[in-house]
Structure formats: C-alpha cells, structure tokens
Assembly symmetry: C2
C-alpha cells in the first residue's frame, strides 16, 4: 500500500488504542539451575535498592530493543544468555555457557508485579553443569548459587511467613514454575545430562534426578532403565577413577546420547495422588 515504511509505521501507530503508547518495559529473568553438593541450586542476586531492597531476586534485566523502525536489538534468548553471563562473570562464548541448556519458561506481565511501572518479563530456564562461583567473575557482586531447599517454596509457589530468604517481585512464582518445568522435563527428555559434565556415571545421573525430583530412586532399577532407553546415554568404554563416597566398585563412564526424547519416559514415582 504505502511504499514508504515510515508512513507505514505512522499509519500503524495511529490505528491503535492510545493506551498502547503508555510504556511497557520488557525484561528477561533467568531461572538458572545447577547441582552442587548433591542439592539443587538456583542463581540469585541480592537486591541493593528499593523496591525489595535486601531481598533476593532472579538475575535479569531489560531487553535491548534496537531503535524504532530498524531491526537492531537483541533476540530474547540472547538477552537471557547475556544476563546470565553478566551475573556469573563468564563470557557468553565460554564453553561452559555454550553447553548450557536454555529454554523459554513463560512470560509474566500482571499489572502491579513491579510497583514502579508496567513490566512484562520473559522468563528463561537454564540447566547448567557445575559452574564457578559467581564472585570469582566480573561485576557480579551480589550473585550466588543458593540451595533451592533453603527458600521454603510451597507447591502453590509462594513462601510461607517466616522464610528467612525471601524473593522479590513474583520471583517465587517464576522459580516455582521453573522447578516444576524442570521436574517434568527430566521425565521425557534427556536433559538431566545437561547438569552433568561431558562424561558422567549412571549414579551421578541418578543423583541429578534425585536432586530435582526430591526423592530417592531405586539404584538398580534406575540403572537398567537408563541403559534400556535408546539414545539416552552411550558408553565411553572407560571406567571412572572415582567411586561412591563410602566404597563400592568403580562405575563406568557414559556420554549423552543422541535422543531428544526419552521413549519410554522415566516417570516420577508416586504421582497418582497429585493428579486431581
């Protein structure tokens, strides 16, 4: 219709409700999970300023938009990786960040979720093998890996009164959604291997499942099940030099296989009661 793209944009903007011009800010927040000392940890930053000063929050920040009418700016997953890199002090092209699994979790935009202005936040979920402590890195003064168990999250996604470490904004809800997503993903995808190094043992993989699901699994059945799913893991032929903490034979080493879905799936035990 109009060959001039700027005329086009003026038409476009004129055709909509003027309330659309009220500012909406778009941010990304990242739920970065890892396993440390056998427990599930999440990367949190300490807020220095109001609102929610002194409380913890998920790492995140504004999406760089690019100027109007142009195609500059960054894609949403790039913004998530950038925020993660800034907070951990790792470079975005580091091998450790490159092996990371990143997926979109959901978008949170309820009016009033930030008391200052309307903010729509796109949350990402990251699964990382054990990463260095954030304080070793760059300008990430306040970031640290925090045991998820210490946050006292309930199933409904909030923190009961008396919880010492409280999360700002609606970040308890976002983290809760991320944990539930992670628990489900381990059932039907091989993403538990994203928490491990390049080579890992079956007992290490089982420890990932136990940390994320929060329950102990039967070692023998787990072992046989993992090896029976085509493409979940492939043998390296080697044997680990390490062994279990209190003895036992040296476990064999495996790599992640080429499956993208687990078939049949590894279902969480004892979910029959939670279904209604």
């Amino acid at each position: 219709m109009s060959p001039d793209p700027r005329q086009d944009e003026r038409d476009f903007l004129a055709n909509y409700d003027p309330r659309a011009y009220d500012p909406v800010a778009v941010t990304v927040d990242v739920v970065a999970l890892t396993i440390r000392d056998g427990g599930l940890h999440v990367l949190l930053v300490r807020r220095g300023e109001a609102p929610f000063a002194g409380m913890s929050a998920l790492p995140g920040g504004f999406v760089r938009a690019g100027g109007p009418g142009r195609t500059g700016g960054e894609d949403l997953p790039d913004a998530a990786v950038r925020e993660l890199a800034e907070e951990t002090g790792l470079q975005a092209d580091d091998a450790e960040l490159g092996r990371l699994h990143l997926e979109q979790l959901g978008t949170y935009g309820k009016p009033g979720r930030d008391p200052r202005m309307r903010i729509v936040s796109v949350a990402y979920l990251a699964f990382a093998p054990e990463l260095p402590d954030p304080r070793a890195g760059g300008d990430a003064a306040g970031a640290e890996w925090t045991p998820v168990a210490a946050l006292g999250l309930t199933e409904s996604g909030d923190q009961p009164p008396g919880t010492t470490r409280r999360l700002a904004f609606d970040h308890a809800r976002i983290l809760s959604d991320g944990l539930e997503r992670a628990r489900g993903k381990l059932e039907y995808t091989p993403l538990a291997t994203a928490f491990c190094g390049d080579e890992f043992t079956i007992p290490e993989l089982r420890a990932v499942y136990e940390a994320v699901w929060g329950e102990e699994l039967h070692a023998g059945n787990f072992h046989r099940k993992v090896l029976s799913v085509p493409g979940f893991v492939e043998s390296t032929g080697a044997t680990a030099d390490r062994t279990g903490r209190r003895g036992g034979p040296r476990p064999r080493l495996y790599r992640a296989g080429d499956a993208r879905l687990l078939h049949p799936a590894l279902l969480r035990p004892g979910r029959e009661e939670l279904i209604r």
Copy 2:
C-alpha cells in the same frame, strides 16, 4: 529507601542502559483451535493493510499497559480473551467463552519479526468447542475459522512456496508451535474435552484426538483406555439420540471428569522414529 515512589521510579529508570528506552511494544496473539466437520480449524483474520496486506494472521493486538507508575492496565490472559472476543463477536463473559481453555504458548520477540518496530508478542493457545461463525458477530469482518490442513504447514513450522493461504509475520511458526503443544497436551491432560460440548460420547472424543493428532485410532482400544483412566470422563447414564453417520448402536453420554492429568497417559502411536 526513598519513600517517594516517583523518585524511586526515576532512580530505577536512570540505572539502566539508555537503549532500554527505545520503544518495545507488547502484543498478544491467539491461536484459537476448534473442531469443525471433523477437522481442526484455527481462527484467522485477513489483513487489510501493509505489511502483509491480503495475507492471513492470528488475531491479536496491543496489551493495554496502564499509565506509568500505576497498576492499571490489563493482565495478559485478559488481553487474549479480549482479542478473541473482539474477533469472534462473542462477549467476554459469554458462557461459550467462559468454558474455553486458555494457556500461554510462548513469547516471540525476534528483532525484525515486525518490519515496523520492535514487537514482543505473547502467544496464547485456546481450545474451544464449536463456536458460532465470526461473521455473525460484531466488528470482526475479516475473521474466519480456517482448516489447519489448508495452510500446508510443515513440521519445521513454515509454509512451502506455492501455499495459497499464507500467514503474516512469524505466525506460521507460532501456529505450528501451538499445534505441537495441543498434540502433546492431549496426551497427558483431559483437555480434549474442552473441544466438546458439556456432554459428549466416546466416539466424539476420539474424533477430537484424530483431528488433532492427524491419525486414526483403534476405536475399541480407545474406548477401553478412556474409561480406564480415573477421572477422565464420568457417565451421565444417558444415551445419545444421534448415532454414527452410517449406522451402529447409540453411544452413551459422558461429561468431563475431575482429573487434571491423565494417568496413565494416552500416548500418540508411532512416535518412536521421531525421537532423535
């Protein structure tokens, strides 16, 4: 820290990269699915203006933000329902829209996805029982239920050259993601009942699965399986007056049960090859 929230907001805005001020618009797009004549249909609008004039698009529009510093404006799911109501001519409080299943699908924000400005779009997925034709309603001149099969979508989410009915922006990708989500949801949730009326027969429910999954199911095994999953359907005790199109006994009538997850799940047949 600062008791004045406007001072607070100024601090807040001053602390971030100035590129954050470049405008980002937030829209919602809706993938509304229904079953008509035994086939899966999606609600599409015809675009009258550039860009993509004459092409089809998902219904959608700007999220009403509310003014700065206040908590006005609409929540994202409310915006999705509003867009759907505007396009179908139904009122947002109609029973037919009230029974609708609505869930967030994902957020699409790649720079350049709209040639005019940076737009981040939150996509919603809706499952609807058969709704009236949009043209009967209000100002929804260009909306219509379109057979998904006519769009020629490939697994990778694009339309090969030569497709007659083309989708604007990245809406082929969004629709493709919505279809895959719907296929998966039918496996482990009872949401197929959201495509049916209040009362339905097992063969009608099977027709929903066949339309969404695009393959025929074994009638006998499907029947036994549905009845064996606790809480999927509950009997009304009544028998339908209608029967199969070419004869057969009158099927019994059921209502949706109280299950929120299907256990054990109804898995799609023949997915072993698609896993890697």
